[in-house]
């Protein structure tokens, strides 16, 4: 599962085996097999585009991506991360997509001397007491996104909301995150099995409960089934508030059924800033599909590394590199960006709505800003060591 980027990088390595200063190896840990592989591809392609637009050299170092597939299995991920830090001696690891993988690889990666930068997973474990100087998250703390939806529901005057999530940790976290900011009444909480196929029974309950809106978190195929069946059941006049359910990774399958449904995030493809316009255009030209937040955050991570390595003058001094990552400004695709005390971003969050573009493809688009320069709920517990 190794992919070598840039013949130039390879040539440079062959010519100068001892002098590694001119080259940079970045370990990419992402999911490339199984039903969630679409998300893993987004992450890999986003980072690869960032390297390409930096001329194949992050911070002036010829960059080689060592891409490994974590198979969404913590044990597999740990073995492959050990190989990255021990055999390949990578100074930086970028990944993964899923929080349970992040929990498994953080210690082997950091103990092995690497700096871990997660462009998607942002579990609370590493945001509060477990924060770490060599661990960065460039997306968000997971709870923030659900809290954005709760706040948006308040502003839009929804008093009675029906909550439906899968019956596992992330699902229960989503419901808790939403309820933390939502001030109205949760008329019913439904927990469905993670392998649920058909939502007809739950849709009938929603219709019977007559809520002002529903809140749901249904990642991957679950969300596709729900969105299409929700539309088919004629419930689309009840606002569909969701997180990680309708995004550019699922929209090619849900198509028109998802138009008008809501999501929450720190980024959307239509954000109007020069960095984002350049990113979206180049991404679609290179890979032929619309980028989702997985790709955007990975792209940002590459651009951040480019700026930080330049500022630190290479990757040999780890202290200097960590400090540079924390403080070097870079042009993020989501506009203003900075790290908080726990190495998680302090940034704005938006309410998004699914729209059909003029070219017939689908994307989420910003409706309004919900939180400004939002700090996650765990940052105050962090004593950085």
């Amino acid at each position: 599962m190794m992919r070598v980027f840039g013949a130039a990088a390879l040539a440079a390595m062959l010519a100068l085996p001892a002098a590694a200063q001119g080259t940079l190896k970045v370990g990419i840990v992402t999911v490339l097999s199984g039903p969630q592989a679409t998300l893993g591809q987004q992450l890999r392609d986003g980072f690869a585009l960032g390297v390409k637009l930096s001329g194949g050299r992050l911070g002036g170092l010829a960059t080689e991506m060592l891409v490994v597939d974590d198979e969404l299995k913590p044990d597999v991920a740990v073995t492959r991360v050990r190989a990255l830090v021990e055999r390949d001696e990578v100074p930086v690891i970028v990944g993964p997509v899923f929080s349970n993988i992040m929990a498994a690889i953080q210690k082997p990666a950091v103990d092995g001397g690497a700096i871990l930068i997660s462009p998607n997973a942002g579990p609370s474990t590493f945001a509060g007491r477990g924060c770490n100087a060599s661990t960065f998250v460039t997306s968000y703390q997971n709870d923030q996104v659900h809290a954005v939806m709760g706040e948006a529901a308040n502003t839009d005057g929804y008093r009675r909301v029906f909550v439906m999530v899968p019956n596992y940790q992330a699902g229960r976290d989503a419901a808790a995150g939403f309820k933390r900011t939502f001030k109205g009444e949760v008329v019913e909480e439904v927990y469905v099995p993670l392998n649920q196929l058909d939502f007809s029974a739950e849709l009938a309950k929603i219709a019977a409960a007559k809520p002002d809106a529903i809140f749901t978190f249904m990642p991957g195929g679950l969300g596709i089934n729900l969105v299409r069946q929700y539309r088919q059941a004629g419930l689309a006049n009840i606002p569909f508030l969701s997180t990680f359910t309708v995004d550019e990774s699922t929209l090619p399958a849900t198509q028109d059924a998802a138009v008008g449904f809501y999501s929450a995030a720190d980024w959307a493809p239509n954000m109007d800033n020069p960095a984002n316009r350049r990113f979206v255009q180049a991404f679609e030209a290179e890979y032929g599909y619309v980028p989702a937040s997985y790709a955007a955050h990975a792209f940002d991570t590459a651009i951040l590394l480019d700026a930080a390595i330049k500022a630190a003058g290479g990757v040999t001094d780890k202290e200097k590199l960590r400090a540079a990552i924390r403080s070097t400004p870079f042009e993020s695709v989501r506009g203003p960006f900075r790290f908080g005390v726990n190495n998680f971003p302090v940034q704005d969050f938006w309410l998004l709505r699914v729209a059909k573009r003029a070219d017939g493809k689908f994307q989420t688009e910003t409706v309004r800003r919900v939180f400004e320069a939002n700090v996650d709920a765990y940052a105050s517990e962090c004593r950085m060591r």
Binding site: L197, A204, G221, I224, R228, A253
Partner: protein, 307 residues
């Protein structure tokens, strides 16, 4: 709970039941007639859905996809039988489980290589895109009624073929005592191939019918396969009638459990405990049903009579 809601949930349960029946019919025949455990049966369902998605983009509609996907599913079933499964009939069950599990891995990864990891979709046929409003604000789509009708028609057709035709008689005889049927001069190999092909096509048909309401993605058949095994164990191995009754029971039990378990738990427990216990109870319903049936009738409800 209103009668309208109950009616909708019963319809939902029956519709899940007929979908399960379409898959279980083939599985129970293959298991019963050939004594062959085919874990790869769920993959046939997935292939049906993928073929539908592919042909839908080629022909631009559901009906064209249906017309092309059925013979294609039959052909794939026959090819798999000749290439792989035929060589496993005389092996013991563990070998069969291993080999057919390998086929699952191979084909799940295969569709990913061919069609990509991203889920695909099939449009609902235009003529069936409307629905009835049974309870206020909830539309019961015509398409779901069409699934119900199609499943019942297939059940009727299978019933007539198995009980009223010569081929059906041979299949019933094969399920009771395959060696004796073979000794009487019947080409049992050809009969097996036929049963296998039709079973694969029925699973493919279930996949085509499910494609407009479910997401078409690698591994979509794996969860359904477990339910299908529950169905044939409840119904009795080798019995189409058993598969039909078992499928409807499982469909109803699963749907009604999901709909009302939390409400029932709320009557006994506090609200927060009920939201934890309810979903757990709902996931257990069908397995409790299976346990109850096995206690009362260890061979299932309608077992094929063994000679």
């Amino acid at each position: 709970m209103s009668t309208g809601l109950l009616l909708v949930q019963i319809l939902n349960g029956l519709q899940l039941g007929v979908l399960l029946f379409l898959i279980a019919a083939g599985l129970t025949l293959v298991f019963g007639v050939m004594d062959f455990i085919n874990l790869a049966h769920g993959v046939q369902y997935m292939l049906g859905a993928y073929l539908a998605a592919w042909f839908a983009t080629l022909t631009g509609g559901f009906w064209g996809a249906l017309a092309l996907a059925l013979p294609a599913a039959l052909a794939i079933g026959l090819v798999l039988e000749v290439l792989v499964f035929r060589h496993l009939y005389d092996r013991d069950h563990l070998d069969q489980v291993l080999a057919t599990f390998g086929v699952i891995l191979f084909l799940n990864q295969g569709v990913r290589a061919v069609f990509g990891a991203a889920p695909m979709q099939v449009p609902t046929p235009e003529a069936l895109s409307g629905g009835f409003e049974i309870i206020p604000r909830l539309i019961y789509p015509h398409y779901r009624l069409a699934i119900l009708a199609a499943g019942l028609l297939v059940a009727l057709g299978l019933y007539l073929v198995i009980n009223r035709t010569r081929v059906g008689m041979l299949i019933r005889a094969g399920a009771s005592n395959a060696a004796m049927v073979s000794a009487l001069g019947v080409n049992i190999g050809l009969l097996f191939t036929l049963v296998f092909g039709v079973g694969a096509m029925l699973a493919g048909f279930a996949g085509v019918m499910a494609a407009p309401i479910l997401s078409v993605e690698p591994g979509m058949g794996d969860n359904l396969l477990i339910l299908t095994f529950v169905v044939i164990v409840i119904g009795g191995i080798g019995s189409i009638r058993g598969a039909f009754v078992g499928a409807l029971l499982v469909g109803l039990a699963d749907t009604l459990g999901r709909s009302f378990a939390t409400d029932i738990a709320r009557g006994i427990l506090s609200a927060s405990a009920a939201t934890k216990v309810g979903p757990a109870m709902a996931s257990m319903t069908i397995y409790l049903l299976m346990a109850a049936v096995l206690v009362a009738r260890p061979a299932g409800l309608f077992p094929a009579k063994r000679g």
